[in-house]
Symmetry: C2
Subunit: 326 residues, 2 copies
Amino acid sequence: MNTTVTAKAHTNIALVKYWGKKDPQLMLPQNGSISLTLDHFYTETSVTFDDQLAHDQIYFNDQLLQPAKAQRISQFLDLIRQRSGQTHFARVTTGNHVPTSAGLASSASGFAALAAAGSRAAGMHLDLTDLSRLARRGSGSATRSIFGGFVEWHAGHDDQSSYAEVLQDPVDWDVQMIAVVLKATKKPISSTDGMARVVATSPYYPAWVQTANHDLDRMRHAIAAKDLHALGMIAETNAMRMHALNLSADPAFNYFTADTLTAIQAVTDLRANGVNCYYTLDAGPNVKIICAGHDTAVIKAALAKHFAPEQLIVAKPGPGITITEA
Amino acid sequence: MNTTVTAKAHTNIALVKYWGKKDPQLMLPQNGSISLTLDHFYTETSVTFDDQLAHDQIYFNDQLLQPAKAQRISQFLDLIRQRSGQTHFARVTTGNHVPTSAGLASSASGFAALAAAGSRAAGMHLDLTDLSRLARRGSGSATRSIFGGFVEWHAGHDDQSSYAEVLQDPVDWDVQMIAVVLKATKKPISSTDGMARVVATSPYYPAWVQTANHDLDRMRHAIAAKDLHALGMIAETNAMRMHALNLSADPAFNYFTADTLTAIQAVTDLRANGVNCYYTLDAGPNVKIICAGHDTAVIKAALAKHFAPEQLIVAKPGPGITITEA
């Protein structure tokens, strides 16, 4: 009989961004990053290794993935097979539990859940730190989604030294995010290709690595002090410096849409009116607003001028990974 | 009898941007810049020094300016009085000849015309190089508007060494710009304040100065070789690296509007379809498209999907300053 293992992992949003690989094979980043795991967006993945299978079968939201789309997942399963000695192919059923198809969960929660369910189903019993190292090989940001609350991913210099750990969990103060889910447009470039182009062509890249390391120090202090204003200002500046790298690449690219500019301006205006809120952005048009829970109503009201209620999703700090065997 | 001197100066659009002062008093830039003077946008300014006046009288587009708005012009006239020994106040009538109030002419043509008309009316006979140095004190970009065609402003290290000169005039090949004049919104920050914030807070600024100097070398070669593709690619990358500085400032700011992103995307799409066109942007939402005259129709047709015909203004290379005495 084959054991089925199910893992649930939440997505995370970086407050000090990961943007650029030092080693694409080992997925070592150029700089460390700090994130907040969110409660609202997660991936649930079940894995069963089965000697009756002639190849991996990957079901995503109940649809069997074609081989081309399943390839990245199969390669990750190869890594698990290689380490565990497991020789069979696997049946994987995975689903993203997000209110929309906005891609907010994506690869961070996906590869965290796959690392946890896949390794356990293959007979390995990894601790959370080793799970974090393993998830990293699937997707950089997945390194952080093993843990809940505020998490830091140490850049490291080899497989062993590049892993995430908890900075603060549970998060026992009033901080949250409001995801502004914007109309998806054709992505100008994938995050993998975007960051590779930036590392190769931006004259600003060395200064980015320096400033990100400085931001990590300051962000750790802001989190320890539960200082929303400091946390928000560091996150906002760091995010814009990441997007500045994209503008400075050759050729230039950017992930902004008209709605992105509108949401940024709304946050800036709110803050000018005394509301403690800050924005961050990743490799896509969506804006995430960092704020206190008690300001939710006033922020939603201001954004309602531009966006529909279903585009505004409140997310509280979320938990680390859970694993169950059936 | 008092001499009235009239000068006409055209605006210019930088292909390698000026963004940041080394010396705000002397208006010395951190890096040199290269521009194209345009035929379509100009300022005409007449100056008369008159012993009957109790203060400077500045008429802008036939309206007497209030003292607060006239101050920057009066301070420039003070500089001329100090150098020339002229003791009287002046009557200045100035007008921007641009198809819209989009601010495309603005301070570059304005201070170039004022430097030329004012200094001659005060009895000075400056050569073009000295006029360029004088115009610099009014507005950095005015340094270049003394000359026609392709112009380089040498950054220099003192008043004497910071001046512009012609790289190529007349421009005897098929290069032009199409100005995409977008809805004006409230400017987030003036260019003077914006560049000061960038110099003070952007971790990318030292790399900008290096890359701009490298771009100057490459741009000189592209102009000498009459190579539109090379010229356009250097200009586009340089412009986006200037705007990247703004995103990387603390606090971040940007001059993009939704229409800016639309125009940039239209140029990118056109080029992907084989049309030789490139964009550049200054401290505002407008996009200027660098292209050959023979592609005007196809570019206008593509942009007509998003913008009205009167928003698309074709500008050919323009002449240097002209001065007439009456």
